[in-house]
Amino acid sequence: MTTAHAEAADGTFPHEPEKATLEGRNKVLAFWLFLGGEAVLFGTLFATFLALRNQTNEGPSAAELFHLPLVAAATLLLLVSSLTSVFAIQAMHRGNVAQLRNWLLVTVLLGLAFLILEIYEFSVYVRHEEFGMTTSAFSSAFYTLVGFHGAHVAFGILWIAVLIGQLLHKGLTVVTAPKIYVSAMYWHFIDVVWVFIFTVVYLLGKVG
C-alpha cells in the first residue's frame, strides 16, 4: 500500500496519471456514476420543460422571445471550451504542466464568457420583455432548466479555477491528476447538456 506521493516522486510518472492509483480509478468511476445521476436530473428538467413549454399564460412565447444569434454565439463559446479542455487533458498525458495550465485557463475564460452572455440574455428578458420566473409555467420551466445548467457552468468555473491554483501550488501528481481529469469529464457533460438545451429549448422554440 504505497501512498500516492511515493509513486509520483520516483521519477517514472505514469502516462495516465489519473488512473495510476486505486483512489484515482475510484474517483473516475464514481464520477461516471455521478454523471448518470446528473443525466436523470437534467432528464427530469427537460421533461418538465417539454410538458410546460407552451403554457405561456399570455406572457411572451419562445418564438417571440429568443434571439438566436446571441444563443449561437454562446453555444460556440461553450463548444470551443470543451475542445480546449480536451487539449488540457492531452497536455496532462504528455506531462506538460505549463500547457495543461494554459489550456485550463482558456477553458475557464471561455466558460466565463458563456456565463456573461447568459446573464445578459436573462437580464434582457427580465427588463425588456417582462419575462420573469413568475410570468408563466413556461417561464418557470425555462429559467429553471437553463438556469440549472448555468449554475453548473458557474460551479465548473470555480472548480477548475481552484484546480489551477492547486496545480500551481502542488504540481501535477497522481493526486491532482484524477481531479483534473474528472473536472474535464464534468465540463464535457455540461457541454452535452447544452447541446440538448440549444436544440430542445431554443431551436424547437423558434420553430414552433
Binding site: M1, G37, T44, T144
Partner: protein
C-alpha cells in the same frame, strides 16, 4: 468529537443506527398518536390540522429518516466486511452522506417547533402542498429538509456502487458475492437513478412556494399532475430501495440457520435485477384515478403485475432453502421466517391494487394503508429486525439476549397483524385514508379499536427490543468471531467487533459462501491473498460535519427569505439572503479546505498488527 470526525465505516454504521433509531422512535410515537385519535368515532383527542401534520410527518419520517438510515447502517456495517475490503471507496464521502442526512432530518423535524409541520401527506400532492392550501412553512421544511437528506442518500448510493465494483477481495467475482452485497449494489443503483428525479421535484415545488413559480399552479399555466409523475417516478423505485435490502438480509439469514447454501443463487441475482428494472416502469399505478386513460392504465397495470414473477421466484427459493435444512429458530431466523408469509400477503394485496378497475374502489382507503404497511413493516421492518439481531454481535461484539429477542418477535408480529390485518376490511367497507375521524355505527368502531390495541402491542415489542439493547450493552463484549457458528460469509472470519482495518490480510475467495467453503475443506480460516504489510488508513476530519452544517444554515436562510420579521436585523439578514450566503460560504469553504490540504492518511505498521 471522535464520533463527529470519524470516517470509519463501522462507526458511521453505528451513527446511522442511532440516528435512524431516534427518528424511527419519533415516527412510531406519531403513529401511536394517530391510532389513539382513531380509537373511537368522533374522537376529539387531536384536531384535523394536527392529524394532517402527524400523518404527513409519520410517513415522511418513517420512510426517509427511520428505515432508510437503518438500512444504511447495516450496509455500512456489513458490506466492506462481506466483500473483504478494508473500507468503503470514499470514507470522506461516507461521513458527508451521514451528516447531510442527519441535518436534513433535523431541519424537517424543526418544523414542529417553528410554526407548523408539513400537512399535505408524505406525497405532498399539489395543489394541497401549494401555498394556497398550506400556508405555514411546513411544506418548505419538507422540501428543503428532504432535499438535504436526499443528498446524503445519493452520496451513500454512489459510494456503495464504487465500493462494490472496485474493492472486492481477490477471487470474489460478482457471481460469488453474498446476496446482501448484491442487494446493496442494486439498491444503490436504484438510488442513483431515482433520487435525482425527486431532487428536481422538490426544487420545482420549492420554487413554486418561495419564488412564486408556476410549475404546479394551474392559474399560471402549470400542471399538478406533473408533480405526481415526478414524485412517483421516484416514489415507486423508492419502495424497492426499501425492500431489496430486506430481501438481501433474508437471503443471508435463512441459509446460515438452515446450514444449507441459498437455493437458486443465480436466479436470486437475476430476480433482483429484474425487480429493480421493472420497478422503474410502473410508477403510474399510483395514478390510475387521475385520468390517464384506459390504455395507460392497462399498460401500467400489466407491467406492475409482472413484478410478481421475480418476487415469487425469491419467495420459493427461500422456502426451498429451508426445505430439508437443519433449521434453527434463533431470533434472526424467527424474524426471517415471519417475514415470508407476511410479506407475501402484502404482495397479494399489491397485485389486487395493480388491477386498475379494482383500484378505483380501493384508492385512498385503509385497504391501501394495510397493503403498504404489510410490505414496509411486515416486509422491511421484520427484515431489519432479522438483520439487526443477526449482525449485532459483529457490530458491537455482544450477543443480544435470545429470550428477549423472542419476546420482541412475538409481541411485534402479533401486534402487527392485529393492527393492519383488520385495516383491509376497514378499507373494503369504505373507511377513508387521511381522514381524522369517522362517524359511529358504520361498523368501523370495533375494528379500529383492535387496530389501536395492536399498535400498542407493537410498541411493547419495540420497548422490549430497547431493553434488550440496554441490558446487552452492560455485558462484556465477548462475542466470538463466528457467534452463530454456521457463518458462511467473510464478515464471520474476523473479530467481533472488527479492528479498524477490518482484515489484517485481504482474504482469498475461492467460491460462493467463501468462509463456509473453507470450513468444509477443513480449514480454520481464510487463506490470505497478500503478506502482512503496513495498512493505509484515512484520517478523521470535521469537514463533512461542517459542510452539512453549512447546507443546513443555507436551507433555513432560503426558506425564510420572503418572511417579514419583527426585528429589523432579522429582516436584513434573511431578506437579503445573507444567512443563505453564509451557509453556502461554510460549505464551499470546507470544500476548498478539503481541496487545498491533502489528506495523506496514516499507516498501521505490521508490528502493531501483530501486537494485538
Amino acid at each position: 468529537m471522535d464520533w463527529i470526525t470519524t470516517v470509519d465505516h463501522k462507526k458511521i454504521a453505528i451513527l446511522y443506527l442511532w440516528a435512524g433509531g431516534l427518528f424511527f422512535g419519533i415516527g412510531g410515537l406519531e403513529a401511536i398518536l394517530i391510532r389513539i385519535q382513531l380509537i373511537k368515532p368522533m374522537n376529539t383527542f387531536l384536531d384535523a390540522q394536527t392529524f394532517n401534520e402527524l400523518i404527513t410527518m409519520h410517513g415522511t419520517t418513517m420512510i426517509f429518516l427511520g428505515v432508510m438510515p437503518v438500512i444504511f447502517a447495516l450496509m455500512n456495517a456489513v458490506i466492506p466486511l462481506q466483500i473483504g475490503a478494508r473500507d468503503v471507496a470514499f470514507p470522506f464521502l461516507n461521513s458527508l452522506g451521514f451528516w447531510t442526512f442527519l441535518f436534513g432530518g433535523l431541519l424537517l423535524n424543526l418544523s414542529w417547533v417553528m410554526g407548523g409541520a408539513p400537512d399535505a401527506g408524505w406525497t405532498a400532492y399539489t395543489p394541497l402542498s401549494g401555498k394556497g392550501y398550506s400556508a405555514t412553512h411546513g411544506v418548505d421544511f419538507y422540501t428543503i429538509g428532504l432535499q438535504i437528506a436526499g443528498l446524503g442518500t445519493l452520496i451513500g448510493g454512489i459510494n456503495f456502487l464504487a465500493t462494490i465494483i472496485t474493492m472486492r477481495a481477490p477471487g470474489m467475482s460478482f457471481m460469488r458475492m453474498p446476496m446482501f452485497a448484491w442487494a446493496t449494489f442494486i439498491t444503490s443503483a436504484i438510488i442513483l437513478f431515482a433520487f435525482p428525479a425527486v431532487t428536481v421535484g422538490l426544487v420545482l415545488l420549492t420554487f413554486d412556494r418561495i419564488l412564486d413559480a408556476n410549475f404546479f399552479n394551474v392559474a399560471g399555466g402549470g400542471n399538478p399532475v406533473l408533480w405526481q409523475h415526478i414524485f412517483w417516478i421516484f416514489g415507486h423505485p423508492e419502495v424497492y430501495i426499501l425492500i431489496l435490502p430486506a430481501f438481501g438480509i433474508i437471503s443471508e439469514v435463512i441459509p446460515t440457520f438452515s446450514r444449507k447454501r441459498l437455493f437458486g443463487y443465480s436466479s436470486m441475482v437475476f430476480a433482483t435485477i429484474l425487480i429493480a428494472f421493472l420497478g422503474f416502469m410502473v410508477w403510474a399505478h399510483h395514478m390510475f384515478t387521475t385520468g390517464l386513460g384506459p390504455v395507460a392504465n392497462a399498460l401500467f397495470s400489466v407491467s406492475t403485475m409482472l413484478i410478481a414473477v421475480p418476487t415469487g421466484i425469491k419467495i420459493f427459493n427461500w422456502l426451498f432453502t429451508m426445505w430439508g435444512g437443519q433449521v434453527r429458530f434463533t431470533t434472526p431466523n424467527l424474524f426471517a421466517a415471519g417475514f415470508i408469509p407476511t410479506f407475501t400477503m402484502g404482495g397479494v394485496t399489491g397485485v389486487m391494487l395493480a388491477s386498475a378497475p379494482a383500484d378505483f374502489q380501493f384508492h385512498d382507503t385503509y385497504f391501501v394503508v394495510a397493503h403498504f404497511h404489510y410490505v414496509i413493516v411486515g416486509g422491511l421492518v421484520l427484515g431489519l429486525f432479522a438483520g439487526l439481531h443477526y449482525w449485532w454481535p459483529k457490530m458491537f461484539g455482544r450477543m443480544l439476549s435470545e429470550t428477549l429477542g423472542k419476546w420482541t418477535f412475538w409481541t411485534f408480529i402479533i401486534g402487527f397483524h392485529l393492527t393492519f390485518f383488520v385495516q383491509h376490511f376497514l378499507g373494503l367497507m369504505g373507511m377513508q385514508r387521511r381522514v381524522f375521524t369517522y362517524l359511529p355505527n358504520q361498523q368501523f368502531d370495533t375494528l379500529n379499536l383492535v387496530s389501536t390495541v395492536g399498535a400498542f402491542l407493537m410498541g411493547v415489542g419495540m420497548i422490549i427490543f430497547l431493553v434488550n439493547v440496554f441490558l446487552t450493552s452492560r455485558r462484556p463484549a465477548d462475542a466470538p468471531e463466528d457467534p452463530w457458528e454456521d457463518g458462511r460469509t467473510l464478515e464471520w472470519t474476523i473479530p467481533s467487533p472488527p479492528p479498524e482495518y477490518n482484515f489484517k490480510q485481504t482474504p482469498l475467495v475461492r467460491g460462493l459462501d467463501a468462509f463456509w467453503k473453507e470450513k468444509m475443506a477443513g480449514h480454520k480460516g481464510m487463506t490470505p491473498a497478500e503478506p502482512v504489510g503496513p495498512i493505509h488508513m484515512p484520517s478523521a476530519t470535521i469537514l463533512p460535519f461542517l459542510m452539512s452544517v453549512g447546507i443546513f444554515i443555507a436551507g433555513l436562510g432560503f426558506m425564510f427569505s420572503r418572511d417579514e420579521f419583527s426585528s429589523s436585523i432579522m429582516s436584513f439578514l434573511f431578506n437579503n439572503y445573507i444567512v443563505t450566503a453564509l451557509g453556502l460560504l461554510i460549505t464551499f469553504g470546507s470544500m476548498l479546505m478539503r481541496s487545498l490540504f491533502d489528506d495523506h492518511g496514516w499507516h498501521i505498521e505490521p508490528e502493531e498488527l501483530e501486537g494485538r
